[in-house]
């Protein structure tokens, strides 16, 4: 566990970057520090591994004040992922990953074996080991950055806007990858971002900081969305806070109708205005409208139980039928969530 105990960072010119911050980052969880620029989130992160020293207060690492630990020793025990990856351009990927093991004096062979393990673990082709960083894409470099931070198996990982310099598609896949890794590794992660969506997606706990370095609220994402502490947090969360909250509402209990599905070629003969046409294997083909026979309209799918209400609603809005198609993991139709069913679920979500 990382504990901030009334930590203040004041620069010689009088600027206060962090103001009496008290916060806990529990062991094995992802704690996200989020806020606008100038809120001291990066400064707070860097005080943990003493890249910046606190002016007042204490930071404890499992009860031990970091101020008492020699900085290089402290840092070798804490993984660090920086924006733009910060890979060493003159070292091959395998040696970049093995940086901290080398610093710790591991045998070179052992360090490289460990590096190869991690290369695969973060989802990269082992053939990349012998390349130089500039030969990799931004997303690949960032994965190498994560592998390098994990190389010596530190219990704590600090991540400073690690995914903000890559395009949105790559960012999403890196976020998913981080969550997958975290499920296996259970590191204590402190993650800094200015992107509230990223904070809500990744954080077990989210700490919202305001300009001047004070803590506005710390809570789990769901609580943050439903009970923002003040106007600042509410505004920072954005106007679609209600919609976003739906991503924490399960589709488990959503009522599904199974009588709206017909196999291809067997359409017609129903009082319903829309019918979902499926192929022989039960995969959706499109919506058939009574008004325009012979044409198939687009559809949207979600996996009940796995996907959130936000996904289900999104799926419904993608189709002129206004219904969301529920499929199993293999993509076969298991039912249809109609507007009525979605309405009912939304009403329940709004109450809870």
């Amino acid at each position: 566990m990382i504990t901030f105990d009334a930590v203040t960072k004041r620069y010689p010119d009088g600027t206060v970057a962090v103001d009496r911050l008290s916060l806990e980052a529990p062991t094995g969880e992802i704690t996200v520090l989020v806020g606008p620029s100038g809120c001291g989130k990066t400064t707070s992160l860097r005080m943990i591994n003493r890249m910046i020293d606190a002016s007042e207060g204490r930071i404890l690492l499992d009860g031990e004040p970091v101020q008492g630990i020699d900085p290089p020793t402290l840092r070798r025990g804490i993984g660090y992922v920086i924006q733009q990856a910060g890979l060493f351009p003159h070292r091959k990927i395998v040696d970049n990953i093995a940086t901290v093991p080398y610093l710790l004096g591991w045998d070179k062979k052992k360090a490289r074996v460990r590096a190869m393990e991690l290369l695969e673990r973060v989802g990269l082709d082992p053939a990349l080991a012998g390349r130089y960083p500039f030969q990799l894409s931004g997303g690949q470099q960032q994965r190498v950055g994560v592998a390098r931070a994990l190389a010596a198996d530190p219990p704590v990982l600090l991540m400073d806007e690690p995914f903000s310099a890559v395009d949105p598609i790559v960012r999403t896949s890196l976020q998913d990858e981080l969550l997958r890794l975290q499920a296996e590794l259970n590191k204590t992660i402190v993650f800094v971002t200015h992107d509230i969506d990223e904070a809500i997606k990744l954080g077990d706990r989210v700490a919202v900081l305001r300009v001047g370095g004070t803590l506005a609220q710390v809570a789990d994402p769901k609580t943050l969305l439903s009970e923002p502490a003040d106007d600042f947090v509410r505004e920072f969360l954005g106007h679609d806070r209600g919609i976003r909250r739906l991503q924490f509402v399960s589709t488990e209990g959503l009522r599904l109708r199974t009588d709206l599905t017909v196999e291809e070629g067997a359409e017609r003969g129903t009082s319903e205005s829309w019918q979902l046409v499926v192929d022989a294997e039960g995969r959706p083909l499109g919506w058939a409208s009574g008004a325009r026979p012979g044409e198939l309209e687009p559809y949207g799918t979600f996996v009940p139980g796995r996907d959130s209400m936000r996904s289900a609603l999104d799926a419904a809005l993608l189709s002129p039928s206004g219904c969301a198609v529920a499929v199993d993991e293999q993509g076969k139709v298991v039912g249809v969530a109609t507007r009525e069913a979605l309405d009912q679920a939304l009403a329940e979500a709004a109450d809870g």
Partner: protein
């Protein structure tokens, strides 16, 4: 062949190794010494000075200002001045050439270290490098291409500048040029020019080769970059 002036090849053969100080071979050796020693010295001195200028930023302005003034001094009067201290020796040529080399290499070292991206330096700190190790294993290696580019300029200009020393009797192959004042006989001049250019090309080629061996990560970048 009779009494006519000798052909250039005859002249080379006759003067290559006469055992006298002004044989072509001796001049070539002198030339190499007087150009290589300043290159090495300039590098050895410029490295710590460049590092100091990066460490203490305020040092850089006065240092580079001073080095630029030195660089602007014409070599001949400097040689003349130094004669009173070091006499008509090779040292008299080596000292100014070393300073000229430093004038190019100090900024090269400073720029080289400046070429280390900030996020790379930050991540080195965060990984737990000690300052010395960070300098030796991260910052200096990344500075190598810029420093080597400076070194190429210094090598070629030193090899060329040595010949001015001939005016104080220490010019290596430049000695072949001064003879043409007394005797308008061209072969020595041609041999001098060809050998000096050849030396410069060889030195430059060796440095390019060194760069390729030392910094494969730069070579590949050029190959694939565009």
């Amino acid at each position: 062949m009779g009494d006519g002036p000798p052909s250039i090849w005859e002249w080379i053969a006759r003067n290559w190794d006469t055992g006298r100080v002004d044989s072509i071979r001796n001049l070539l050796t002198d030339h190499l010494t007087m150009s290589l020693v300043p290159i090495m010295l300039a590098l050895v001195v410029a490295l710590p000075l460049g590092l100091a200028c990066v460490r203490w930023r305020w040092l850089y302005q006065p240092t580079s200002g001073f080095m630029n003034v030195v660089y602007a001094l014409p070599s001949l009067p400097v040689f003349m001045l130094l004669i009173s201290v070091t006499g008509l020796s090779q040292t008299t040529v080596i000292i100014p050439l070393t300073f000229y080399g430093m004038a190019v290499l100090i900024p090269a070292v400073v720029d080289g270290l400046g070429s280390v991206p900030d996020h790379v330096r930050q991540s080195a700190v965060a990984m737990g490098f000690t300052p010395l190790r960070r300098l030796l294993q991260v910052e200096l290696p990344i500075a190598v291409p810029v420093v080597l580019a400076g070194l190429r300029v210094v090598a070629v200009s030193s090899i060329s500048l040595v010949s001015v020393g001939a005016l104080i009797g220490q010019g290596g192959l430049g000695g072949l040029f001064t003879r043409a004042y007394q005797n308008p006989f061209m072969p020595p001049v041609i041999v001098g020019i060809v050998l000096i250019v050849a030396l410069a090309l060889v030195a430059d080629g060796l440095l390019v080769l060194a760069q390729r061996l030392l910094t494969p990560w730069v070579r590949v970048r050029k190959g694939q970059g565009s």
